[in-house]
């Protein structure tokens, strides 16, 4: 029997520690508390899923292609360097 238990995490607290959880920097005991909350809370489960989706989509941002003028300028710099060696 345990004499002391940490009180459960509140939803409004969970949204503030989610980054520690997702970045894997949360101590094991806190992690267990976080996951115990998720197990009983559909709203926070949806929040965590939204955050995972946000991270995944952010990773899909397209870069613009290099424009021709920039490429020319950079290759010119390259040839200046390669030729001077």
């Amino acid at each position: 029997m345990r004499f002391w238990r940490r009180r459960p995490l509140m939803c409004r607290e969970l949204v503030e520690v989610i980054t520690d959880y997702l970045e894997g920097t949360m101590p094991a005991r806190e992690r267990a508390r976080f996951e115990a909350h998720l197990a009983g809370c559909d709203a926070c489960t949806a929040y965590v899923e939204q955050m995972r989706t946000t991270i995944r989509l952010t990773g899909r941002l397209d870069e613009r292609d290099l424009d021709a003028d920039t490429r020319t300028a950079l290759m010119h710099a390259f040839h200046g360097w390669a030729g001077s060696g």
């Binding site: 509140m10 939803c11 709203a43 292609d65 290099l66």
Partner: protein, 221 residues
């Protein structure tokens, strides 16, 4: 010209990066073209967090490439080639002038003045039934088609949300989530402590998520 260090010094690099470094040391034009295709635009974007305009950021990125070429023979391979290139960019950008207007003083980062979610969406912490519980819970995005999630409009929403961030937050989310650097690499590139880096990332992600929720809202409901 000094002899390049032996390839043994590059044993920590991925085969792909080692190939690029060796080719560049041999003055191989294709290797340089490959690198600028991969990284130039992203370097410009990062530079924009430090300087006043796209034009200056372009300049800074071009100057950084010159630094890469000058340094490649002496590159030790202690970090990845990519991290090294970004490091040169950051240093070049800083030299050109940090744009203070967009940055948040670090003293204000530890406070709780900037919650991840609007506090009005939660019950009070002394609520009898569900203290601090959701009043206006987030919806499930499972119903949103993948094509919509990855569509140009959604991407524009994310881009706009990142552009609206204070510059330190924008730098961190770009490097960590857009470019996929590890958090250790991000800390090294931006000279940040672990706690600060995480706070900045937390704030940035929270705002991008909120922008997506606002945008996808009707659809998901």
């Amino acid at each position: 010209m000094a002899d390049p260090p032996t390839t043994a010094a590059l044993s920590g690099l991925s085969p792909d990066e080692r190939r690029l470094v060796e080719a560049l040391r041999n003055r191989d034009e294709d290797a340089f073209a490959e690198l600028i295709d991969r990284y130039h635009e992203s370097l410009v974007r990062l530079a924009m967090m430090y300087v006043a305009s796209r034009a200056v950021a372009e300049d800074v990125a071009q100057e950084a490439w010159v630094g890469v070429l000058r340094g490649i023979d002496g590159f030790q391979g202690r970090s990845s080639l990519r991290t090294w290139i970004y490091r040169i960019l950051v240093n070049t950008a800083k030299t050109r002038g940090v744009r203070e207007a967009r940055s948040v003083p670090f003293a204000s980062l530890g406070g709780d003045g900037e919650p991840a979610v609007d506090p009005d969406r939660f019950l009070p912490v002394d609520d009898r039934d569900r203290p601090g519980g959701w009043l206006s819970p987030p919806t499930d995005w499972d119903g949103v088609p993948e094509a919509r999630l990855l569509g140009a409009e959604t991407m524009a929403v994310i881009e706009a949300a990142i552009e609206a961030l204070p510059s330190r937050q924008a730098q961190v989310i770009r490097l960590r989530d857009v470019e996929g650097f590890s958090s250790a690499e991000v800390r090294q590139l931006l000279d940040l402590g672990e706690a600060n880096q995480r706070v900045l990332l937390h704030r940035a992600r929270a705002k991008v998520r909120q922008a997506l929720e606002d945008y996808l809202g009707e659809e998901a409901a």
